[in-house]
């Protein structure tokens, strides 16, 4: 996930990505924690900062990278762009509108009930989204109907320049859950095992028909809101201190100290991931851009 985001960063100075780019570097442990719990039939609705969620859900990484690099081979043929990744094979969608994914996930949760297929709907949002009306409406309906919805909130403490502490009436987001008849828990989002456990518990509760949950994972985005963000709202001291708490390093240390892996093995793994990402990026860069003649395609499914 880290190397995927680093590959994306390469497209900014070259203008291969000509619009915004939002990376989630520093928030990897949260997406990694979802992997073991997600099933293919579960739907996931993500955000503008969606790459890691998509990887966790099993979205084709090369096709996603090609979409981000504005290629015809992109997962949406270049019609979406990096904020609007769709992969119907694994029921993944994203929206660039903060908070708007939660009502969509509510629809997936209701579909799971109609189909009676045991699926769970996941919405992944940031801390900014929890203050939108759509978030409240969807949570309330999910609670009222006891639907299988799990909302994972990545609380990176900053909604662009406005700190969570200044925008929330409650100390935590997790404690709001009871207003909607949901369960709520706050976990350390740098601790992959803690997030995995909370996420699995919430999912199990949803699959058992016990209703919605909120998992609030505390984290920190290492980079600005978008590439090019001057990021003056966070002090240098804060950024340095928080970036020193790198979830990758924390996880590595834990694995080594518990003799689950050696440092050499982990370095080897990182090197091999870096190499394969470099190869993927090089290959994507050979792909053509979308045909301008196709710009009007797909406005409607049926011809006008």
């Amino acid at each position: 996930m880290r190397h995927f985001e680093l590959a994306c960063l390469e497209g900014v100075p070259t203008k291969e990505i000509h619009g915004e780019l939002h990376t989630a570097i520093g928030q990897e442990a949260i997406s990694a924690a979802m992997v073991g719990t997600l099933r293919k039939e579960d739907a996931m609705c993500s955000t503008h900062r969606n790459h890691m969620h998509a990887i966790a859900k099993g979205v084709d990484m090369r096709a996603m990278l090609a979409e981000i690099f504005e290629r015809k081979t992109g997962i949406c043929g270049g019609f979406g762009g990096h904020m609007h990744i769709f992969d119907s094979n694994v029921k993944f969608s994203a929206t660039g509108i903060v908070g708007a994914g939660v009502p969509v996930a509510l629809g997936h949760a209701y579909a799971a009930r109609l189909k009676n297929n045991g699926a769970v709907a996941f919405a992944v949002v940031g801390d900014g989204a929890v203050n939108t009306g759509a978030f409240h409406e969807a949570m309330n309906m999910a609670g009222a109907m006891s639907l299988p919805l799990v909302v994972l909130v990545e609380n990176n403490e900053w909604a662009i320049s406005v700190p969570f502490s200044a925008s929330s009436a409650t100390e935590t987001i997790a404690e709001r859950a009871s207003s909607w008849g949901a369960s709520g828990v706050r976990v350390n989002g740098l601790d992959v095992e803690a997030v995995a456990e909370a996420f699995a518990n919430a999912t199990e509760r949803a699959r058992a028909g016990e209703g919605p949950s909120i998992v609030e994972a505390m984290c920190y985005r290492f980079r600005g809101h978008f590439e090019g963000d001057a990021d003056m709202y966070r002090s240098k001291e804060e950024k340095e201190a928080r970036r020193s708490q790198d979830p990758l390093e924390i996880t590595k240390t834990a694995l080594v100290s518990r003799n689950l892996a050696t440092e050499e093995e982990l370095i080897g793994m990182a090197d091999s991931v870096q190499t394969s990402m470099a190869q993927m990026l090089a290959s994507v860069r050979l792909d053509p851009q979308p045909d301008p003649a196709d710009a009007m395609k797909y406005v409607f499914a049926e011809s006008r």
């Binding site: 119907s88 969509v104 629809g107 579909a111 309330n140 309906m141 049926e302």
Partner: protein, 331 residues
């Protein structure tokens, strides 16, 4: 002989038939279940198809419309009711950022076969409950926009909207919903069986040779009455019911204008940047040059509360007649 039903019953009959033939159709909205809709357009659906497929929701339009998106991705055909079109403001995000765009943004992967069924038109309820707003939806790429003027069309257009793989905003006219079929001078005979009216095909509801009135929804019957009255004075008016704003049947308007050379667009929606300018511009862009063109729409003002004020700004038989006579006198 028209059957004894009103326009809202024609819509509910259509939805019954759609839900019967296609189990992926679900109805979601406020008061659509137990109550059968505030105008009765979903009456009997919950009783027949159950509360799982006909869902009474809280007053949460963002959740309703967002739910429609998720359901559509899952292969359902949601009919979402936004009680009054004026309420779209609280959930326009899902409508124009997701419902209208997901097919495009996903490169054709995801279809949005969603009907947004809503009531528009003026019934004396003031600025926040009397708008039409089809021009607003039509401005946003990716939405088809339908507004029936009579019982026959209401039933057939709803069937076509539900069947469509594209999102369709279906705008009922509140002034017509409770009107009995027998009180319509056109489209009053409604077959019991299922039929569809293709989206984007207008209808000549009154033939004429001197002047074309293109209009939609509630003002169609006003235009027809004007045409009938002025026929006695030797003015032959062709009235075209556009039926949908998107797609817009500009071929039909062009054919008529080629014959009449006078084009009046009557619109109960707001004047500027709307249906009236669009119709006239497209006709001219096609190379058809009417000698006289006029727009007659709500003159960029909110709908007032008091009747005397409301009458001043809404198209009426009298106001349409006045514009027609001015156009006939113009050189």
């Amino acid at each position: 002989m028209p059957r004894n039903l009103n326009l809202s019953q024609c819509i509910s009959e259509s939805l019954h038939l759609e839900m019967e033939r296609d189990h992926s159709v679900v109805v979601v909205g406020e008061d659509v279940g137990m109550q059968g809709g505030v105008f009765g357009a979903t009456r009997g659906l919950q009783k027949k198809f159950g509360s799982a497929r006909v869902i009474d929701t809280p007053i949460s339009e963002s959740a309703i419309t967002g739910m429609g998106v998720g359901l559509a991705i899952e292969g359902f055909r949601p009919v979402l009711e936004i009680m009054f079109v004026d309420f779209i403001g609280v959930c326009l995000d899902q409508v124009y950022n997701a419902i209208a765009k997901n097919h495009y943004m996903s490169g054709g992967q995801v279809r949005m076969p969603i009907v947004i069924k809503t009531a528009g038109g003026c019934i004396g309820s003031g600025a926040q409950h009397s708008q039409c707003l089809w021009g607003l939806f039509a401005h946003l790429p990716g939405l088809k926009v339908v507004a029936p003027s009579n019982p026959y069309d209401a039933k057939g257009l709803m069937a076509a909207a539900v069947e469509s793989d594209d999102p369709v905003v279906y705008i009922e006219h509140k002034g017509l919903l409770l009107k009995r079929a027998e009180d319509f001078t056109f489209g009053s005979d409604v077959p019991e069986s299922r039929y569809t009216i293709p989206l984007g095909k207008g209808n000549i509801v009154h033939s004429g040779t001197d002047l074309t009135i293109a209009t939609i929804s509630g003002t169609v019957s006003l235009a027809v009455t004007v045409a009938e009255t002025l026929a006695a004075k030797g003015i032959s008016i062709e009235v075209i019911d556009l039926r949908s704003v998107v797609p817009l049947d500009i071929d039909l308007v062009c054919e008529s204008v080629a014959k009449t050379s006078r084009l009046l667009v009557v619109d109960e929606d707001y004047l500027s940047f709307g249906l009236s300018a669009e119709v006239i511009t497209r006709v001219i862009e096609r190379g058809v040059r009417p000698r006289v063109t006029r727009r007659h729409a709500v003159p960029d003002v909110p709908i007032p509360g008091a009747l005397s004020l409301e009458r001043e700004i809404l198209p009426s038989e009298a106001s349409i007649t006045k514009v027609v006579l001015e156009m006939m006198e113009a050189r």
